[in-house]
Symmetry: C2
Subunit: 216 residues, 2 copies
DNA sequence: GAAGGAGAGTGATAGCCTCTAACCAACGAG
DNA sequence: CTCGTTGGTTAGAGGCTATCACTCTCCTTC
């Protein structure tokens, strides 16, 4: 959300309404999914009629695209903050998990079911690229220093890191673990620790390898 | 699809129309996503008017639920066939990947973004349970034989197997690997081979461990 | 301070959707 | 042959996206 940083009263009012609309839109999405996002209902909750919202957003798709872009920025900022604070792969993984648990719908809007026709716009692609870049950087930097800055091995390691995190997270958020009687956090922690550098017989791994397996 | 196994002509006709409707529904979903599934458009393509379809399906949600159930059954049958043919975890993983690549929309309907309000009905939950059971069985059976039939360690191993497969698959199907210049199949293969029993310094793993890492 | 213009909001409307109700035609069992 | 079941129709209520023309109200400019 861009906040109310406008200069003229009109700009401030406009930004305020836009922010409130987006806030309510997230509520609606959280309540019934992205497909249930309705400009009409949104406008009603804002105290105006349907067509008025078209002064603020070009249409339903534009609003959704903006929400996705905001979510991207939010996650990027979160991860960048973690990285800037010196968090390693494990720290970033925890930050990612915390963010996803706090905003499941945001996470699914970024990494969930894609809409076949709808290609992600350039701006979004760039931001998601940044997100993976942060993860890859942290992971490559934490691994054994082979050609610092992107050896194939580092890329492979980072990709495995990313996909494992996403595998646990997305299944957990989708509720596929409910009733299985175990703690997803523990699995996530094990997956987080399992990776950077330990495969291919490189040894016990770098970042701890706590309770390697079977510790349930 | 139940096929045309009815006895009376009416039943056969009914089954035929239902199957054709579901086929077209899958086409529509593949073209523009599940949210674009429209009973009206479907009926038009079937050569009838909208309300006529309500003789065959109780409503849009019922049709979608049936499609999901069919997808579940299909995947279950595929995996069961693989398991019956003696495929180990690696074989099942390959079967899963082949199925998902052939029917991405089916995969996402099962494991993609969940609709917040909509709880999966009992029938579906039972079938998805079977799917995971097949994977868990194969994985537990292939691991080192500790308390055959579901030790905590086997469960943990199987869960990691499942989540790793899903992590690579879902990101690949969603197109998040496009333009990264690497082969998802290779990553998937490495993840498939990385798991059953090799962690915690148990050795080189059971099912091959081909090009363990860094081989990109 | 008055005039003009930009911007916010409204009602009307077209066209799509889901789903119900009432009605009609045709098939098949008795 | 008769008549109930079944498949299909049109009509219609209500919701949605989106556009258009219009009003009103501020803010700017003279």
């Amino acid at each position: 959300m861009a906040g109310t940083g406008g200069r003229t009263p009109r700009e401030r009012y406009r930004a305020q309404v836009r922010d409130e609309a987006k806030r309510l839109a997230w509520e609606q999405i959280a309540a019934a999914g992205p497909s249930a996002l309705s400009l009409n209902a949104l406008a009603r909750r804002l105290g105006m009629t349907g067509p008025a919202l078209y002064r603020y957003f070009a249409g339903r798709d534009a609003l959704l695209a903006e929400l996705i872009r905001d979510a991207c920025r939010d996650l990027t900022a979160t991860l960048r903050a973690g990285a800037a604070a010196g968090a390693g792969p494990g720290g970033l993984a925890e930050a990612l998990r915390a963010w996803a648990l706090a905003h499941p719908q945001r996470y699914f809007l970024l990494y969930g079911t894609p809409v076949p026709g709808r290609e992600a716009p350039e701006s979004t692609r760039r931001v998601t690229g940044e997100i993976t870049a942060v993860l890859l950087d942290a992971c490559g930097a934490a691994g054994p220093p082979d050609a610092p800055g992107g050896s194939p091995a580092a890329l492979r390691r980072a990709l495995a890191f990313w996909t494992r995190l996403h595998g646990v997270l997305s299944l957990e958020l989708a509720g596929h673990f409910t009733g299985m009687g175990f703690d997803p956090a523990e699995l996530y922690g094990a997956e987080t620790a399992s990776l950077p550098g330990e495969e291919a017989g490189r040894g016990a791994g770098i970042s701890g390898d706590r309770v390697p397996l079977g510790g349930l």
